[in-house]
């Protein structure tokens, strides 16, 4: 399952239970709906381990933060999935803001390399 746009890409690989986000998320409110649908499908599959790979996500606006948070909150509601978020120190926002996802789900494992 994937969404490919000139500015961003989102992929959900069911086999590895990995969601990968790349590019620049600067969408306007409702434009995030297809992205959110894909993210929630990954959460609703209720894997034991779900990886969110944002290492190539250069930019995330506040509506995008909101969208990623909805994935984490959905996982939290299901209470069956361990989440690993993989980020990159190449993009300073990731070290600043990804920690907020952990505040929503304290068991979330954050790996920034």
């Amino acid at each position: 399952m994937e969404i490919v746009h000139p500015d961003y890409e989102v992929r959900y690989d069911e086999a590895s239970s990995t969601v990968t986000c790349k590019g620049s998320f600067r969408l306007h409110g409702d434009e995030y709906t297809p992205v959110l649908d894909l993210l929630l499908k990954a959460a609703d599959a209720m894997p034991a381990l779900l990886t969110l790979d944002v290492r190539e996500l250069q930019f995330l606006n506040s509506s995008g933060i909101n969208t990623l948070s909805k994935l984490i909150l959905r996982v939290r509601n299901h209470k069956v999935t361990q989440v690993v978020v993989r980020g990159s120190a190449r993009f300073p926002w990731q070290e600043k803001s990804l920690i907020n996802l952990q505040r929503l789900l304290p068991a979330l494992k954050l790996e920034i390399a």
Binding site: H28, N61, S62, N66
Partner: protein
């Protein structure tokens, strides 16, 4: 009418390094404008980063951090300004960026409909007085539960919590635009 919330510092046009861009919100659709917001924010960020030259590892990292911060903050300010500007307003939306010795200051000015002012000022009151970490989490949870209509202030909360910025707002009457109010939003980013 003039009302100030937070520690508002008047923009000092004509002094030092600054850059100002103006937009006519009604000239193109909001969706087209959104793309333009990103271009403008990246331009401001790239422009400002030239004042923080990289060389060694530490200064290169600092340059990248400032560029990244301006890109986020300017984009959020422009998104808010475009979203909240009065649909019938002919008031130009502006963004200005000033470089001081110890801070970068950004200002947006946009028209805001009178009926939007009360709820917005109530929210600003929360931003200025409450624990913003707790407020951030609360807003995310309310958004996920569908309890927030439209704005949740997440951009402002991210600037405060993640970027160590301070914010202030000024509301003034627009003399030539009926009963519309001009909202100036200031973000001060220590550098």
């Amino acid at each position: 009418m003039k009302q100030i919330l937070g520690n508002f510092i008047e923009p000092q046009e004509g002094h030092g390094e600054y850059l100002k861009i103006g937009f006519q919100p009604s000239s193109i659709t909001l969706q087209q404008r959104w793309h333009n917001n990103g271009l403008s924010a990246d331009f401001l960020a790239g422009y400002m980063s030239t004042f923080f030259p990289g060389g060694d590892q530490a200064s290169t990292a600092r340059q990248a951090e400032i560029k990244d911060a301006i890109s986020f903050i300017a984009n959020e300010l422009l998104e808010n300004a475009m979203k909240f500007t009065h649909s019938s307003s002919h008031h130009t939306v502006t963004i200005e960026m000033f470089l001081d010795v110890d801070a970068i200051k950004l200002y947006t000015v946009n028209g805001i409909a009178p009926d939007k002012i009360d709820p917005f000022q109530q929210f600003i009151g929360r931003l200025l007085t409450e624990d913003t970490d707790a407020l951030y989490t609360e807003q995310l949870e309310r958004n996920a539960a569908g309890e927030n209509e439209g704005a949740s202030g997440l951009g402002y909360l991210t600037m405060l919590n993640d970027y160590g910025a301070s914010l202030a707002w000024r509301f003034t009457n627009l003399i030539h635009d009926g009963d519309d109010i001009a909202l100036t939003t200031m973000v001060r980013l220590p550098v």
